[in-house]
Amino acid sequence: MHEEILLDVKNLSKSFILSRSVGDVIHGRHPQVDAVSDISFTLKRGETIGVVGESGCGKTTLGRMLLKLIEPTSGSIDFGGEDLASLDRDSELAFRRRAQLVFQNPFDALNPHFTIRRSIYEPLVNTRVPENQHDQMVADVLIRVQMDRMLHLLDSYPHQLSGGQLQRVVLARALVLNPEFIVADEPVSMLDVSVRAGILNVLREVRDTMGLAAVFISHDLALVRYVCERTITMYMGSVVEDGPTRDVINRPLHPYTRALVQAVPVPNVAQSHEPLALTGNLPDARNPPPGCRFSDRCPLAEDICRQSRPPLRTAEPNRRVACFMVPEMVAETG
């Protein structure tokens, strides 16, 4: 269905240099955190990928880099064939028309001094879309996010709206430019449960009707399953598994993904209470374990895991895993 590659991420890394304590200075330490380590993946036109992981795994940093809001330390991001790092001012504006962000906190994502109407028009104004097209584009997006019954909200201010309504506005603002690509960073985590479904349904529908490619960042596997065709799990800055959502959840190959899936509670009393197949706590990001970063908590860890980092390899058609304990698929020759 989607063949053309829209986003090509190659060996992307981002390190943050931390402020040094006195002890660090004395010992000559330069603490840094490798928030994102050597990530590579591709996103095809119209495809939705979920990026799942716990706090600190780097998924938010990754999302920001994909939209050129943070500069990577190394590696490259190609969008529609162009390297994001080499865009000039005009091309950057063109990029902004094609790639947008959906925010986590609906209460903070809108300027409190702007009316809703103004906030939705803002991207059109900023990216210099010809004025005669503005109204039509706003009308289109309002229908898409199902706000056509809420027109009276257009002249209200953010503090007058509920969380669910605000998030719809955030979505409208993100989609008004008809982007080809969005990054949705925990778009429903701050909403009430009964309201989340509305936003998720809009996302699903928009995905189907607009052919939108999306990177959906979440710590909630259940949400990712509902919206995304493909899932990437991240742990301490690296991708540990990448494959079709259904397979990753029903038959996880990486031990971390397995633990994640097992840990998610379901609204069913007869669920398993078996202890999780992992030990300990998340290690300090400044001192990750040598070798595979999951090795100190992994039930399958062996010597090789503690010595070198496992590369992301194809384990099955369309599925990649970064684990020495998962056999690599033997490529068919000929």
């Binding site: 902004r96 903070d108 109407r117 900023n126 039509q136 584009m137 009308a139 027109l151």
Partner: protein, 323 residues
Amino acid sequence: MPQAIEPMGPASTGRASAALLPHLTTVPRRTGPLPALALAGKAFWRVPRESHYAKVGLVIYLIFALTAIFADQLVNYEPLEILFADNYQLRRNLPPTADHWLGTSYSGRDIYSQLVMGTRSALAVGLTAAICVVAIGTLVGLIAGYFGGWIDNLLMRLADIALGIPFLPFVIVLASFMGAAQSNVVLGIALLLWPNSARVIRSQVMSLRERAFIEAARVTGAGKWRILFVHIAPNVLALSFLYTSVAVGWAILTEASVSFLGFGPSDTVSWGYMLQDAYASQALGRGQYNWFIPPGLCIVFVVMAGFFISRGYEEVLFPKLKG
């Protein structure tokens, strides 16, 4: 270069969206600092309705403002006019009478007229100086807070210098060198008082910079200056107003001090001038309370009003501080 964007999406939205069009009007492109000021102006008037302190403060300001505007109608004599009685005697040190509501000074001048006319210079100096101080402070705070780096460093070091210079002596020196005019007092105040507001606004800007809607502005293509003046500025203007009201009080006090010390202009009457005159004529020794208490009280009220207004703003804009 603007390019035509082809709206993607199914044709089915066509009909429905056409129905929405009448409800929408294009938002004008030119959204610069002026609309920002308008937005903030709306907030400005909202505060007094919610806080008693602000109401009281504003009422006091209003009274003084009206006095200043209608001063000509309110006085009977010229403030500096030396007055003689019918018997060619100097109307010196008269107690309050029907003719001179607050009596006369040592030189035979009507105190009441001086007080009322003094309102003008007080407010003129106060307002002008306050606006200058806050305008500079806000601009510096915005730029230093948003751009950071060497600009921030440079501006904050300038602020340090301005803070290090002793205030009153500087104004006095300025008045001595450039002449004892009110404009020089205003200049002195403007040059030295801006760092306070600049610092606070700068830290406010620095925290605003991290907010999601600013990131949203970036992601939707807004340039640096647009973000600064259209998105960030309205959120700090409330602070600016707060500082303005306090600054008016300080400016008036400063002007009074400078005049009292004798370095102010001698051709315009101000409350400080009155106090200086009273002091030099030994009014206290004569028990001429009608001379020096009124201007003193006026200064107190105006400064107090400024603080009340700022207190009101604080209550309304930063309610979490109430505890």
